[in-house]
């Protein structure tokens, strides 16, 4: 038994600095992402959550080029991406413009990487994440930004919930819908810039949407759903780090698979519950 534990928790798992960075940054992201993802699902805007991290990729490429902090580059580009998408969606229903913005951002990323002669492994890390390569300064930035985001979500919680469910009522009560849409866009953008270093631009979506959707199946109330979602996200990244360290399988792949598994399990539980309720409902007949 002791051997098995030693085999799972290999030496260095909790002591190597790069692993400590990984544990801290992954946990921070796994707490904030489902909270934002809850609102993304509530508002039915998963496309935004899907597109923004990819736009942010260009920011990280730009940061590589000029030698700036990658979190900073990610944040700037993600914000620009989210705000312009919000702006265009208000002024036209044309999805083509949104898609073109996304393509332009990816194209810019390509340009920056080419000009900067960036090495392939770094590009790879941006696209698929490199959790075990997160630096001390990045860990610091991710942690601080996560704490700030959790506080902001706490502050805007009620008006954002109200305007996401019954917008006309919220407006009648004096909530500015424009301000709430803007806040939402900024939250998604900043969350995306935290998630990219952990699981990469292509897989960032998996931490924001998967656990939140699973939470929605497991609980009926917002609090319950967010609690489950955070538990699923934390579970996914923790298990991913352990397996990834033991087996050298890529963390991004592991996080994506684990959150998919959690989603499927949650959905099955939900279906089983519904069937049971239905049976109870019809049995008196």
């Amino acid at each position: 038994m002791t051997n098995l534990w030693q085999h799972i928790f290999e030496p260095g798992l909790f002591t190597y600095p790069f692993l400590i960075h990984a544990w801290i940054s992954a946990s921070a992201v796994a707490i904030i992402s489902p909270l934002i993802g809850f609102f993304v699902n509530l508002r039915g805007e998963s496309f935004v959550a899907h597109a923004v991290p990819r736009g942010a990729f260009a920011g990280a490429a730009a940061a590589f080029l000029v030698g700036a902090n990658s979190i900073l580059g990610l944040s700037v580009f993600a914000l620009a991406m989210a705000l312009s998408m919000g702006f265009m969606r208000r002024h036209s229903q044309n999805g083509v413009i949104t898609a073109l913005t996304l393509v332009m951002a990816l194209g810019l990323g390509d340009l920056f990487l080419t000009i900067g002669n960036t090495y392939a492994p770094e590009v790879f890390a941006l696209l698929f994440g490199q959790l075990l390569g997160v630096s001390a300064s990045e860990t610091m930035a991710i942690t601080v930004l996560s704490v700030v985001l959790v506080i902001v979500v706490g502050i805007v919680f009620r008006p954002l919930l109200l305007s996401s469910t019954v917008p006309e009522f919220a407006a009648a009560r004096g909530v500015s819908l424009t301000a709430m849409n803007l806040t939402f866009a900024v939250l998604v953008a900043l969350d995306a810039s935290l998630t990219v270093p952990v699981v990469g631009a292509l897989l960032a979506f998996s931490l924001m949407i998967g656990p939140a959707a699973a939470g929605g199946y497991l609980a009926k109330s917002p609090w319950g759903a967010m609690g489950y979602a955070i538990a699923v996200a934390l579970g996914s990244v923790w298990i991913a780090i352990i397996i990834g360290y033991d087996t050298s399988l890529p963390i991004g792949f592991l996080v994506a698979s684990l959150s998919l598994v959690a989603y499927v399990v949650a959905r099955l539980i939900h279906m089983a519950r519904k069937t049971r309720r239905f049976k109870r409902y019809v049995s008196p007949l």
């Binding site: 009560r173 929605g216 199946y217």
Partner: protein, 273 residues
């Protein structure tokens, strides 16, 4: 303006980018009155409601509520929107939605306490939503959702209740129940009601006054004062006929077969309700 007026429109003119929506609206709504706001589509009913809520400002003229100018976000006005969009898997229970009516516009989150839970429960009981209080809102029917929206609007004990086409997503039976519920609450709590509908017939038994909107103009009065061929002819600016059959009223443009205010309920045999 008299102290008896809940809502006062004084020479209100409303235009959006050169297009006139409302012109020279001049009327008082008495305290405690149940007013049906009736008119064809595009007559400006929703604009009227938005003016009272202070969400838009009149191009000219003034709107007063209980003697003071309208201001956005007043808790003495309860607003009931048409409906809301919700996915069946959305993690929001009926009581969560209704609870947002208490203080959903405030920053931070609400710590649950007994008094708060009790207030929400009482309101759920009041509108007859006890049975599905813990169900996700996305699984509820149109009528059930409408009850929740009414409960949500009533939690702050408003003196005025504005309902913007609450019947449009409901079948005739649930529509009738919603009207009875609103009438009962209005009577018990002395709430002034503005009930927007495109067909006046379901409201005939309960409304004290009708506010008839057409061509951007309005007439206010009892049904017998307002729904007359000469009054409506002047309002529409074209010859109008009024038909009364078995206690129901149909308004036609002269020579036309289709009633001006709404035909849907007639096509679906509203007389059965």
């Amino acid at each position: 303006m008299t102290s008896e007026a809940a809502i006062t429109f004084n020479q209100v003119h409303m235009a959006f980018s050169g297009h006139t929506i409302l012109r020279e609206l001049q009327f008082n709504i008495d305290k405690g009155a149940f007013v049906g706001v009736i008119g064809p589509n595009g007559a400006g009913k929703t604009t009227l409601i938005r003016l009272i809520l202070g969400l838009i400002r009149p191009s000219s003229g003034t709107v007063h509520v209980f003697g003071s100018p309208v201001r956005r976000g007043k808790r003495q006005i309860g607003y009931v929107p048409q409906s809301f969009v919700a996915d069946p898997d959305m993690p929001l229970r009926a009581r969560d939605l209704v609870g947002l009516g208490l203080d959903g516009e405030r920053w931070g989150f609400a710590f649950p306490n007994h008094a708060r839970q009790q207030r929400i429960q009482d309101m759920l009981d009041r509108v007859g939503a006890t049975r599905y209080a813990d169900e996700p809102v996305g699984t509820l029917s149109g009528g059930e959702r409408q009850r929740l929206l009414i409960a949500q609007a009533l939690l702050t004990h408003p003196k005025i209740l504005l309902l913007d086409e609450p019947l449009s997503n409901l079948d005739i039976h649930s529509g009738h129940e919603i009207i009875q519920l609103v009438a009962e609450i209005a009577h018990d709590s002395h709430v002034t009601v503005m009930f927007v509908a495109h067909d006046m017939n379901p409201l005939l038994g309960v409304m004290d006054q009708v506010l008839y909107l057409a061509q951007g103009r309005a007439v206010v009065g009892s049904v017998d004062e307002v729904i007359l061929p000469e009054v409506l002819t002047e309002l529409y600016g074209q010859p109008v006929e009024v038909l009364r059959i078995n206690g129901r009223i149909l308004v036609f443009a002269s020579g036309e077969m289709v009633p001006l205010t709404h035909s849907e309920s007639i096509a679906h045999g509203h007389a059965l309700a």
